[in-house]
């Protein structure tokens, strides 16, 4: 993760350990820790002191709408990070990520209802099951690349979607399956505040694991395979192993995200895991920044917020004189999908390095402000 980023002068590294930190500077690390701690505090506070639930900023965190967005950031963000390991870091492609997300959601619900395994344990197990499915459907990556791999993963998407309907014992077929809420030692994560804390904790763990992976042996091997596979092989890297393994890891992340999604909605149905969601995942990492750990989260936030803003825009339109036009009243879903497509295209053209890159530039700008030129 070492990059040429802006460091204040006087901040010299004197050990290799300092030089291999996830965050380049002590300040950015501190800021992240404070931010996350504040998130926890803001959510926990109104729970403990109910009077605070109406206070200005704290109030937002007691509000179901904001929390549900935060929960979506977390479970989609975990899955998007997995896809970024596969696409951004290893340089492969997958159009079937939503299917692995679905495998995670169904697996966790199934493990819990069938075997009575505690949900908290089912979530990582579901990640494991998704990883196995990912390894199976990722096996073609050993031989094929690019467009052919895209088609193979597209086939995986449709095959798995079809299996969701057929394997009734596992998924409940077309009627879907129920997913219990998470409980830990009798404490139920049964409201949005609690569930947000749970998903946030999972997200932090998964992001830290990925950041660590990328600064150690196998993470470097992924990037080496992406940048120059012929010389990666001469460096002793087994191409087949890493190409397939990155599918496994990507599916593991998707599975964890999917399981958290299922237990949040408490109901899992195959319609949610279509090719559209796969494309949205791709959109998240393109917009956030291919090959960037934090980019996956930034892109997820963008992608989750986009339809919210679209909905806001449409409801404003509905109050204007055109408000009674059918294309506005009925057009919300249509607008939403158009906006997703437009956002992906605009980012590909104007910001191919994604939000993560833009964020770096902004940071550099403020470091030097007002002498930015």
């Amino acid at each position: 993760m070492a990059t040429l980023s802006m460091r204040p002068c006087g901040d010299f590294r004197t050990t290799y350990r300092q030089d291999t930190k996830i965050f380049d500077t002590r300040n950015s690390r501190g800021a992240m820790v404070i931010f996350l701690a504040a998130l926890y505090a803001l959510v926990i506070l109104p729970q403990v002191v109910p009077a605070l639930a109406d206070a200005p900023i704290i109030g937002w965190f007691a509000d179901g709408y904001f929390l549900s967005l935060g929960i979506q950031f977390c479970y989609y963000g975990i899955a998007a990070l997995g896809l970024n390991i596969l696409v951004g870091f290893t340089g492969q492609i997958s159009l079937g990520h939503a299917a692995f997300f679905g495998v995670g959601a169904f697996s966790s619900a199934w493990l819990n209802t069938t075997f009575g395994i505690p949900v908290l344990l089912c979530i990582p197990l579901a990640g494991g099951m998704a990883a196995v499915v990912g390894l199976i459907f990722g096996a073609p990556a050993a031989r094929i690349k690019g467009l052919y791999l895209a088609i193979a993963t597209l086939a995986a998407q449709f095959i798995i979607e079809d299996l969701f309907i057929r394997m009734e014992w596992f998924t409940g077929g077309s009627s879907g399956s129920l997913a219990d809420t998470v409980t830990l030692f009798g404490f139920a994560f049964d409201n949005d505040q609690r569930y947000f804390l749970l998903t946030l904790s999972f997200a932090i763990i998964m992001y830290v694991l990925a950041a660590n992976l990328m600064r150690s042996r196998d993470g470097r091997a992924f990037v080496a395979v992406r940048d120059h596979y012929l010389s990666a092989e001469v460096m002793g890297i087994n191409l087949t192993k890493y190409r397939v393994m990155s599918f496994g890891i990507a599916a593991f992340y998707a599975g964890i995200g999917g399981a958290l999604y299922g237990h949040y909605l408490m109901f899992v149905s195959a319609e949610a895991f279509t090719i559209l969601l796969s494309i949205q995942f791709l959109g998240m990492i393109i917009i956030g920044g291919l090959g960037s750990v934090m980019g996956a989260m930034l892109g997820t936030i963008f992608m989750v917020m986009l339809p919210e803003f679209m909905a806001g825009g449409v409801s404003i339109l509905q109050n204007t004189e055109w408000g009674n036009q059918p294309f506005i009243i009925n057009g919300l879903a249509f607008f939403r999908e158009m906006a997703i497509g437009a956002a992906i295209i605009l980012f590909l053209i104007f910001e191919p390095d994604g939000l993560a890159h833009r964020w770096k530039l902004i940071k550099a700008y403020w470091k030097l402000y007002p002498f930015s030129h």
Binding site: T3, Y16, S216, R226, G236
Partner: protein
């Protein structure tokens, strides 16, 4: 000459691409600790030979014996594990990685941490292992004098520096045999002198056996212990640098006819002053 058994023994090797005979029945061997040069005009099959040795190409016929083991069926990554390293004629760095990470990739087969222990980093000893290899990589960085650029993105460096980083990455493999494909092509005189010094040091101080393809006859004659000449996929001569220089066939095929003024009709590289 010692009676050491060869570290590399290429036996009757042929490589055909359809009708193109890139190599025809070439045999040669390299002794441990030797600095061995392969010369020949463009298209002679030098890179193809290196690709057969490193496993990129599977020879149509013949064997590659490395340290007494027949490595012909092994894929390139396995050959790295038994002690081969190489650089490429055309730059082959990991362009988006830092110089440091590029070189750390060279430690891949020596590192033990994996996606699990690497992810846990602090818990499974991965951090300790990474840092200890980092220390050794820094020695290589110091040796090749690239410390000021260790954080730079490899793809942004000048040609000469990239060649040097590629050498650093191959050295990081800790190979017993290092294969260098035109390590100084496209360099200016000063860079060439540096590169020559590094190669000699690797051979003498670091104890690596070197097989080098090089066009600069001055360098080849100065540093190599033995030279093999390829032309149209065939071995036309092998011997001490002086013998090679005086071999009439070599003069004709590689260095150009005696009576030609510039002496480099085929090989348009610098360094013809030697010829």
């Amino acid at each position: 000459m010692s009676t050491d058994s060869p570290i590399l023994d290429v036996r009757d090797l042929s490589l055909h691409f359809g009708g193109v005979r890139a190599l025809s029945n070439v045999s040669f061997s390299v002794k441990p600790g030797e600095l061995f040069a392969i010369i020949g005009p463009n298209g002679a099959g030098k890179t193809s030979m290196m690709n057969c040795i490193s496993g990129r190409y599977t020879p149509t016929q013949g064997q590659v014996i490395f340290k007494g083991q027949d490595v012909t069926p092994l894929p390139p990554n396995k050959r790295t594990e038994v002690g081969m390293g190489r650089t490429f004629q055309n730059l082959a760095l990991f362009g988006h990685m830092s110089v440091l990470d590029n070189i750390m990739v060279g430690r891949h087969h020596l590192l033990k941490n994996n996606f699990l222990s690497g992810g846990l980093y602090w818990l499974g000893g991965a951090q300790k292992e990474e840092l200890s290899h980092r220390r050794q990589v820094e020695d290589i960085i110091d040796f090749l004098e690239i410390s000021p650029i260790r954080k730079a993105t490899a793809g942004t460096l000048s040609y000469g520096l990239r060649k040097r980083v590629e050498l650093a990455r191959a050295v990081a493999l800790k190979p017993d045999l290092i294969l260098l494909d035109e390590p100084m092509a496209g360099m200016n005189q000063e860079e060439k002198e540096d590169m020559t010094r590094y190669i000699v040091d690797l051979n003498e101080e670091w104890g690596m056996t070197v097989v080098m393809i090089e066009h600069d006859m001055g360098v080849v004659m100065d540093v190599s212990e033995r030279v093999m000449v390829l032309d149209f996929g065939q071995k036309i001569a092998e011997g001490l640098p002086d013998e090679i220089m005086s071999n009439p066939y070599v003069k004709k095929a590689y260095l150009g006819e005696d009576d030609e003024e510039d002496g480099g009709a085929v090989n348009a590289g610098p360094g013809q002053e030697v010829a």
